[in-house]
């Protein structure tokens, strides 16, 4: 408790110093538009930030959270993009913000949104059923080359299916993809042996891993996950080998958790929210949230964020193009 109070003081002091520089300050309630349904990963992301902002009083205006998650999140982005120049609407999403307009005919373009910050990066793990006889990712790939294996994932032409396509392309495997409504459904389908693998985020499969219903083969990241804790029996996130060393030559694949403003807002508005979110990312509550959901800490804003969005967007668009999924 004492610690958090002192941090609050520090942040208050920092805010006091920064205040004259930042001209913008919201003067009415700020709407946090969650581009996912209640209870999902993006929802928890936005509500955690809301709770931290309230706790440390990082903003004077109150925050209202609304869920607009239909059509894979397009509902929320269309809504936000529609408030051009409005400094009191923030959309919370993933890389779907700039992927949706590429793969589906949604009534907004990536340029209609202004990137504010990326605050976390959710990882992807290759999971198989706990009773499966694959010991490594290489075993899995060898079987997958014969054809007939199925990967289930959340939604169509989204991050999970794109990753499946990348695995096929990188290894010559012939894995088919079954789209479900959520990663949770894909987790249960794998536990029930109805599909052969999934590429869920760590938090989506943790419960089943602890019960030995599923097991991880590798993580799509250039280095192993840093978490030391043993979450499932004698194994922890840090024990999962990287896919590159385990036999799938994909270096890095992750999903940024992002915050966006509508297009046409003033630079000082973007700067204000980027600062607030940076302060959020430095709190112990944020560290706990990342640890609880097994995500990696990242903070990107400004030019850094813009180039990261371009690099990620280009890489994924290439896959979409190869598969013939481009909408335009």
């Amino acid at each position: 408790m004492k610690k958090s109070v002192s941090i609050a003081c520090m942040i208050a002091a920092a805010l006091g110093v920064a205040a004259p520089a930042a001209a913008f300050e919201p003067n009415r309630p700020v709407e946090f538009v969650v581009t996912a349904g209640p209870g999902g990963g993006t929802d928890i992301f936005a509500r955690t930030i809301q709770a931290i902002i309230a706790k440390y009083e990082l903003m004077k205006s109150p925050v209202v959270v609304t869920n607009k998650g239909s059509a894979g999140g397009a509902e929320g982005f269309v809504y936000t993009a529609g408030y051009k120049g409005d400094a009191h609407k923030l959309a919370f999403g993933t890389n779907n913000a700039y992927l949706l307009p590429v793969r589906a005919k949604v009534p907004y373009k990536a340029e209609d949104l202004t990137p504010v910050a990326a605050l976390a990066s959710d990882e992807f793990v290759l999971w198989v059923n706990g009773k499966a006889d694959y010991a490594t990712a290489a075993d899995f790939v060898a079987k997958a080359k014969e054809g007939g294996l199925k990967i289930g994932g959340s939604q169509s032409k989204d991050v999970d299916q794109i990753l499946t396509s990348m695995i096929n392309d990188a290894t010559g495997a012939k894995i088919s993809y079954i789209p479900f409504k959520s990663g949770g459904e894909a987790a249960v389908q794998l536990a029930g042996e109805h599909i052969d693998a999934n590429v869920n985020n760590p938090s989506e499969n943790l419960g089943q891993w602890q019960a030995d219903m599923v097991k991880p083969l590798c993580v799509f990241k250039s280095v192993k996950l840093s978490s030391e804790a043993k979450v499932a029996g004698d194994k922890g996130w840090g024990d999962i080998p990287t896919c590159k060393e385990a036999g799938i030559p994909i270096d890095n694949y992750s999903m940024p958790r992002t915050v966006w403003l509508p297009g046409g807002v003033e630079p000082d508005v973007v700067q204000f929210y980027a600062d607030v979110l940076r302060k959020v990312s430095e709190t112990p509550e944020w560290a706990k949230y990342l640890a609880d959901t097994s995500q990696s800490p990242v903070y990107l804003s400004g030019e850094e964020l813009k180039s990261a969005v371009e690099v990620d967007g280009a890489a994924v668009s290439e896959v979409l193009k190869r598969e013939g999924w481009l909408a335009n």
């Binding site: 349904g37 209640p38 209870g39 999902g40 929802d43 928890i44 509500r47 955690t48 809301q50 709770a51 609304t66 869920n67 607009k68 239909s70 059509a71 894979g72 397009a74 509902e75 269309v78 529609g82 793969r103 589906a104 005919k105 949604v106 009534p107 907004y108 199925k150 939604q155 169509s156 032409k157 989204d158 088919s176 993809y177 079954i178 789209p179 479900f180 409504k181 949770g184 459904e185 987790a187 249960v188 389908q189 536990a191 029930g192 109805h194 938090s203 943790l206 419960g207 089943q208 602890q210 019960a211 219903m213 609880d292 959901t293 999924w325 909408a327």
Partner: protein, 511 residues
Amino acid sequence: MENIGLLIDGFGHILSWNHILLMMVGVTLGILVGVLPGLGAPNGVSLLLPLTFSMDPISAIILLSCMYWGALFGGSTTSILFNIPGEPSSVATTFDGYPMAKGGQPSRALTLAFVSAGLGALAGVVMITLLSGWVAKFALKFSSPEYFAVYFLAFASFISMGAQSPFKTLVSMMLGFALASIGMDTISGNLRLTFDIPELIKGVSFLIAVMGLFGIGELLLTSEEGLRFEGIKARVKLAEIGRTLIEIPRYWLTIARSTIIGIWMGITPAGPTAASFMSYGVARRSARDKSLFGKGDPRGIVAPETADHSAGTSALLPMLALGVPGSATAAVMMGGLMIWGLTPGPMLFTDRPDFVWGLIASMYLGNVVAVFLVIATVPLYASILRVPFSIIGPIIVAVIFSGAYQVANSVSDIFLVIGFGLLGYVFKKLDYPLAPLVLAMVLGDKAEDAFRQSMLMSGGSLNIFWSNGLVSGLMALGLVLLLSPLAFWLIGTLRRRRHDVAPHGDGNAAA
């Protein structure tokens, strides 16, 4: 037996005045969000969620789950009083609840609904207590073909119940399927039937449709009858509640059957809405005297309510045991579990038995508290009907419009509600059934997803629906239910013809 011991420990964890007070607060708030159409349990629970971050997990889940119970009860109230389902799962309650209330027996309708709902919920909890381990394993057997078979079963049990022409039923159902497919398609990821209208990409909310079709449609019909300044002469007597309570044991068969349907649909998890429709359909089919159904038959209230609540309760088991939410509200609570530092999943029962069994114990107590609280509100709600329509009508319109806006904070939904209201009015005038449309809207896209996932899994072969005992059994049962009315009709006509032939033969001979 081990479970019973754990349950008693669970009661030990939750029996304190603090927790009882939290239950009452939760239930009261729940009734409130349930009664206001559009707000609903998932929204209510997500509004309350931030408040629970500082509580200990057991108190937090008691508050949230009691709010869920309260909302389930509250949703039936408006269905019965105004023909406006406050929750999707209480649509089937309007079929007989509203006519009974309109006929001057609102207290009886409400009491029947609340008590059977309470019984359904208790049956669900008893099932969770006794079968938790087995059910968790069973739920893992379900994949897309099995889901499709369950939806098929729900359609089959409901499809031929209408008294109207089968072609009208078909038109209504097809319209429902079309409405359900608006928005983004899960399997292809493309937008369908949106016509480049930004408001349509989120699809058409089922709640908007029922508020318009039932609520506004009914208001239009009532207004047509002319301006009236007297309310329904509703009897509001405590004795009426007592009499209804004594009446309930007569429906034991309906209650037992609906409980089984509800638990089954909750576990699988097709959800409370499908359960209430299916249960209503089955009750109507198996009734010897069908003439009162749709006009205020008590079995038409008891059946959907019991199934709704036993399904709603059972739906919490897959969430706890597998980490899959069985309903939208369960999804929000699961998000809560993670924030409280718990991992929903199979290990929760082993790692935190105090939490799991505390929650199960709170379901017993919470439902009992809820039944007492809602029955206490019966006289209040029933007397609302005595207010003249010219006063209550405009209030209902205001409530529906604000509810429609709240569903997705979208102004365009208010216009959609008006559109659906007109459609509902036309349907009633032309004697088209609304129920098939509603059922197709709720289950249509789920059934479609399950079917197409199955096709992807099998590479396009329909044999996947006969590939194992479970799915074959479900499909066979569905086919029997679907074809049995046809078979009965055929047998009936043949028999009648034989009866007819004999006297006619004599008559001809005499002539």
